[in-house]
């Protein structure tokens, strides 16, 4: 009897753009996984026709043509104001600002803080890989204590650099009524997809600002093999950055 092989082609989200695959991230990179979760969330909500995907500068810029949706690449740190501008001028759009930890918590921090404070009806999705990856692995606000990078070659110290930024906690502290704030990780894809979906639903409902940080891998700059990469993500990052939901829209409804 002739043996039959079932060929299972990897399933891409429908909202991904086939012509631009494979994507441009390094093997083992977390960005691709986050964007897969985002693609699935877009598919499940059926909102591909309303998406404006705004990407920052950082490794996230490699996603400028990743989706089968409209999109704009902007400057380092400026994805939030561009998304805000589109949303304010076209409230029917579903605007996603996609950025790294450097883009969101350092150079674009004032935009993140104030868009949160104004409860802008946009969704911010941030990849936390504890370093400035695109520029070659420098220290980021999220670099862990003791972690070595190009600009803290002896390890990050609390005395010199302070404690690593906990973004969602900071955002949740100032987020207004109806906002959604969460942290997920690429090691728990179902949870991450659910969080991103809830964030987009928050924008669809128009109830408030939505923010999801995703813990992401960067084997290239961490200089880790597959095993070490997963260890660092789950153990080192996982110990400092708690995943979960920090603010939900319904919590404030009385």
């Amino acid at each position: 009897m002739k043996k039959e092989y079932i060929v299972d082609t990897p399933r891409m989200p429908v909202s991904w753009r086939e012509e631009t695959k494979a994507h441009k991230f390094c093997p083992g990179c977390g960005h691709g996984l986050i964007l897969k979760a985002l693609g699935q969330a877009i598919d499940e909500l059926g909102i591909q026709d309303r998406i404006v995907f705004v990407c920052d500068i950082g490794c996230c810029l490699l996603a400028w043509d990743l989706f089968n949706t409209d999109g704009v690449q902007t400057h380092h740190g400026r994805a939030v104001p561009v998304a805000t501008g589109v949303k304010r001028a076209n409230p029917d759009s579903i605007c996603i600002a996609y950025m790294g930890d450097g883009g969101g918590y350092a150079i674009g921090a004032q935009h993140l803080v104030n868009a949160t404070a104004r409860n802008e009806r946009i969704t911010v999705l941030l990849a936390n890989n504890t370093n400035y990856a695109m520029t070659g692995g420098q220290m980021a606000p999220t670099t862990l204590i003791g972690q070595k990078t190009e600009t803290c070659p002896y390890g990050r110290s609390i005395e010199q650099h302070g404690e690593p930024t906990r973004g969602p906690e900071m955002v949740a502290a100032i987020a207004g009524h109806g906002a959604y704030v969460a942290r997920g990780t690429v090691s728990q894809m179902n949870q991450l997809k659910k969080q991103i979906k809830t964030a987009l639903q928050t924008q669809l409902d128009g109830s408030g600002f939505s923010f999801v940080e995703a813990l992401a891998t960067c084997p290239t700059n961490w200089r880790t093999n597959a095993h070490e990469t997963w260890q660092f993500l789950n153990n080192n990052m996982g110990a400092y950055f708690q995943t979960g939901e920090f603010k939900k829209p319904e919590e404030q409804e009385v």
Binding site: I57, G71, V80
Partner: protein, 378 residues
């Protein structure tokens, strides 16, 4: 937000006209700019407070509410610039206004507008520089407005001299921007912003001016990737060759636009031995000086660039060549002169500088300067 959404959805939010017929007013320049933007069917303003531009926002916020237009006060000018790009990307007639240090922060977003050919409109009411300096007046934002950023200055800059021009050119700015898809700047100053003078305001439609229709860059009809190609815009390129091609393309488009937008005015230049070059509000002093000398039968003329970028060098060249001497009068240390001399390279007519950075220039002062030049030639 919900309100704006409803307003956006009303069939014709411009049905109620802010100005009917001609409206004579005695107003500040800032007020005039807000009225002009309203009359030009501008959809949304994004801004951040800075003197001497504030009242553009103050009048806009009062009136935009009544006429269903949008406004967002951002956290800084970086954000005001980038949100303005967002408004344009959404296909709305969007604008911002600023001055001095705010102008510096907005250059980042204006570079992206050049790269992506986004038709932004920005009003600049120049204040003193460098640094925080004064909130009053100068012509020191010429470099920044014409060439700010890490680019090649693919932009159109109108230097106005009166409230009437602030009104006319603000309306015009939206049309030039949406026709040619380059960022457009209306370069005023603190004097024009704050002083009151008579102006005739109008609905552009009553003057036969059609507002050039806008068009969304993102979220056009249909579903991206299903009914049409997705619209994806970028400003990052991978190789030198790739970028070079993009910039050459931008340059070719910009060069083609120049003859259509470049603008200047001449006052008795045909036979002038002495030519005063001045832009913006200083042109008023220069024009009065020309009148004074011509009454005395002396051959003095005045050349006024209206667009500083592109600079009307071609028109100025023969005038500069035939003059005996040129006087350049500027409330800055030669920011306009540097642009000007570049366009008339090789012209050997001597030039005299009359630079008063951050300070106004009067007719009397120009008359004295020209008389000094004449005396030297005797």
């Amino acid at each position: 937000m919900k309100d704006l959404k409803e307003k956006n959805e009303t069939k014709d939010k411009y049905a109620v006209r802010p100005i009917v017929g001609e409206k004579r007013a005695f107003a500040t320049g800032n007020e005039v700019v807000a009225w002009a933007a309203l009359a030009a069917d501008a959809d949304i303003m994004y801004g951040y407070p800075i003197t001497p531009q504030n009242e553009i926002m103050h009048y806009w916020t009062r009136m935009s509410e009544k006429y269903g237009r949008g406004f967002l006060q951002t956290e800084d000018e970086t954000s005001a610039g980038f949100t303005t790009l967002g408004g344009v990307l959404a296909g709305r007639r969007s604008f911002t206004a600023t001055s001095g240090p705010g102008n510096m922060l907005m250059q980042e977003s204006m570079c992206m507008a050049e790269m992506m050919r986004l038709p932004t409109v920005m009003i600049v009411q120049q204040r003193g520089g460098p640094s925080t300096a004064t909130v009053i007046y100068s012509q020191q934002e010429v470099n920044l407005t014409c060439f700010g950023g890490n680019g090649e200055g693919f932009r159109i800059v109108y230097s106005t001299c009166s409230h009437q021009e602030l009104f006319d050119y603000t309306i015009n700015a939206f049309n030039v921007a949406w026709t040619h898809r380059f960022p457009v700047f209306v370069l005023g100053d603190g004097y024009q912003a704050k002083m009151r003078e008579p102006v005739t305001m109008y609905d552009p439609r009553d003057k036969g001016i059609t507002m050039v229709p806008t068009e969304p860059y993102v979220l056009k009809e249909g579903c991206a990737g299903v009914d049409r190609e997705p619209q994806q815009m970028r400003n990052t390129y991978n190789t030198e060759e790739e970028l070079n091609e993009v910039v050459e393309g931008l340059n070719a488009a910009y060069q083609a636009v120049i003859p259509q937008v470049v603008k200047h005015e001449e006052y008795a230049c045909e036979d002038a031995d002495y030519v005063i070059v001045a832009h913006g509000v200083v042109t008023r002093a220069a024009q009065a000086a020309v009148e004074y000398f011509r009454e005395k039968g002396l051959k003095v003329g005045h050349f006024r660039p209206v667009t500083l970028r592109p600079f009307p060098g071609e028109a100025f060249r023969p005038i500069a060549d035939r003059a005996k001497k040129i006087l350049v009068a500027e409330s800055a240390l030669g920011q306009m002169r540097r642009i000007m001399t570049d366009t008339i390279y090789g012209c050997s007519t001597p030039m005299v500088n009359f630079f008063k950075p951050g300070e106004g220039i009067s007719t009397e002062e120009i008359i004295v300067k020209v008389e000094e030049m004449m005396a030297e030639d005797k």
